[in-house]
């Protein structure tokens, strides 16, 4: 599949923003828990959420060939995961505003719990829908597994957590509890990534594509002299060696470097480099998302002899 930069930016940054929103709500609930979160940092975090989610959503419209009809994408939520994601993304802003309002007015914990829970549920649902947009496609076997929605949710939570830690570190209070959660998320993400990367789903053959049970089929001629919409959209292939190189880049940037930084920072309690960990992690997930598209193979390419 052709890796469209707008979709890569959209999924990574809105994922980060939604993950951050979830941790901000939990942090704000846990002001007096073992893992403290300075309430004055809440609004800084909320501003980051707004910027990341909004930038992501704007970026998502850039790959549309006819964006003036984008508003219609909210209409088919009963059948389309893409529509569901759009509707929930739109719902996210008023829910987040309601929660920020209840925090701003220092409302009772019960009210903050309800509005916060709504924000968390909405953010998780959006992340899941984004994953299902890709996972529901039977035409792309590599995406048609549980790894896809699990990855979108977990990677969003992980990158959001690192940004949350970087924000929390600039406030008062002990954040080692959060760093421990960040470490668990990073390790879980690394395990999921290696599982998804190693999983080879059996792909249909040219015989399946043409309905020949027996014999061997090979392509003689594709019938066109230059590229078509189909070859442009689905024909992208990444060389095995290049994919392996980029995959090790994902391990290094998204998981290994952030894990080292988090471990060092939590033992030295300096916490000055957590922003760097978040930048590395997000860069790693951008590469991961590029590979997600580049390594996916659409079954229609069987007709083209691939």
């Amino acid at each position: 599949m052709k890796p469209a930069l707008s979709v890569i930016f959209f999924t990574v940054f809105s994922g980060l923003g939604l993950g951050l929103a979830i941790w901000l709500v939990i942090g704000q609930w846990c002001q007096n828990c073992a893992a403290a979160f300075d309430p004055s940092r809440f609004f800084t975090g909320a501003a980051f959420v707004f910027v990341f989610v909004t930038l992501g959503l704007i970026s998502s419209t850039l790959h549309l060939a006819n964006p003036k009809n984008a508003w219609r994408a909210f209409s088919r939520f009963r059948t389309s995961w893409l529509s569901r994601e759009g509707v929930l993304a739109l719902l996210f802003f008023p829910l987040a505003a309601l929660h920020i309002f209840s925090v701003w007015n220092a409302a009772q914990l019960a009210l903050r719990l309800v509005t916060g829970a709504l924000v968390i549920a909405c953010a998780l649902a959006i992340l899941y829908c984004t994953g299902m947009i890709y996972a529901c496609l039977k035409t792309i076997p590599r995406w048609h597994t549980w790894h896809t929605p699990a990855g979108y949710v977990l990677y969003g939570l992980t990158s959001g957590m690192l940004v949350f830690c970087a924000i929390a570190a600039r406030g008062e209070g002990e954040i080692n509890g959060w760093l421990r959660i960040a470490l668990c998320l990073l390790i879980a993400s690394a395990i999921l990534y290696s599982l998804a990367n190693a999983y080879e789903k059996p792909e249909p053959s040219l015989n399946d594509a043409l309905g020949f049970a027996e014999g061997r089929v090979r392509l003689l001629d594709v019938g066109h002299t230059h590229g078509t919409f189909l070859t442009n959209e689905f024909g992208f292939r990444v060389a095995r060696a290049r994919a392996a190189l980029l995959s090790s880049c994902v391990y290094l940037c998204a998981f290994i470097i952030p894990i080292i930084i988090v471990v060092i920072e939590s033992s030295m309690s300096s916490q000055g480099m957590l922003g760097l960990a978040a930048v590395f992690c997000t860069t790693g997930f951008l590469v991961e998302r590029w590979l997600f598209f580049a390594q996916a193979r659409h079954v229609v390419m069987r007709y083209h002899g691939a």
């Binding site: 088919r76 014999g215 066109h224 919409f229």
Partner: protein, 262 residues
């Protein structure tokens, strides 16, 4: 995720892989009709006279070579017995298969299910899958959901386009009845394409499928295409008439031939 469409009529094409010669006449006729069709609203070409000509087509024909299929490689395949080298290994016998592909108007059309705007739809009355260009936002998601490569983006207008089964021909009362058929069917010089209602067991296309059986493309994906590819038949060998006792002249010729070849 299934649309579970069981429409009262199931209009579609039966395509005979035995008779298709891969001439591309159907694709050209399709392009010609849809370029001028109000329903399709144009079918663009890009760099048509340049170095990298491309464009949107609703029907593409690809050629394949089938080998090693016992149905076509059996001893009665024409020429196998009488070949001067004697028996030909099965693996070397092959057959060219021309496969025209356009929208299959699937019963379970994921392209319709995934469409976020409602631009993609399957008509309740006859099962034809269409795109409403006034609603399409050009996200390409429907094309991703199609395993048959039936949808292509009109890059000039930014909307997805696809085979309409010539919906603006088949119901046009102004046309003579014989011409109320898709342009590709009318253009086919070998009569390899047939248009009809697959929901009616008495229709021409249903009868053909009943007689010949059909070859299903990506059956495991579960899209349940309406269009049918009629199964290829095993070739029937012509009866070989061998004189049990050659005449005098023939025997003389044989002896002379043998003497020369020695």
């Amino acid at each position: 995720m299934s649309t579970a469409n069981q429409t009262p009529k199931k209009l579609g094409l039966a395509i005979d892989l035995d008779t298709c010669v891969g001439c591309h006449a159907c694709a050209v006729a399709c392009k010609e009709w849809n370029a001028g069709s109000k329903m399709t609203n144009g079918l663009p070409d890009y760099d048509a006279y340049g170095k990298a000509p491309s464009g949107a087509w609703f029907n593409r024909i690809r050629n394949y070579e089938l080998s090693g299929d016992p149905k076509f490689s059996s001893a009665n395949t024409c020429g196998a017995d009488s070949h001067p080298q004697g028996h030909i290994p099965l693996s070397t016998l092959s057959k060219t298969v021309n496969v025209p592909m356009s929208c299959m108007h699937c019963d379970d059309a994921d392209c319709v299910t995934v469409c976020p705007t409602g631009a993609s739809y399957k008509r309740a009355e006859d099962g034809i899958v269409l795109v409403d260009p006034a609603k399409c936002m050009g996200c390409n998601y429907c094309a991703w959901a199609c395993p048959y490569g039936a949808r292509e983006l009109d890059e000039d207008q930014g909307v997805m386009k696809k085979c309409t089964l010539c919906v603006d021909r088949i119901y046009d009362q102004a046309l003579p009845e014989a011409e109320r058929q898709p342009a590709c069917v009318l253009a086919c010089p070998t009569n390899a394409r047939h248009f009809g209602d697959f929901a009616d067991p008495q229709s021409n296309v249903s009868q053909m499928v009943a007689m010949r059986g059909k070859q299903e493309m990506f059956p495991a994906l579960g899209y349940n295409p309406v269009n049918a590819y009629l199964s290829m038949r095993a070739p029937v060998s012509a009866p070989q008439v061998l004189d049990s006792k050659p005449g005098l002249l023939a025997r003389l010729a044989q002896r002379v031939n043998k003497a020369i070849s020695l």
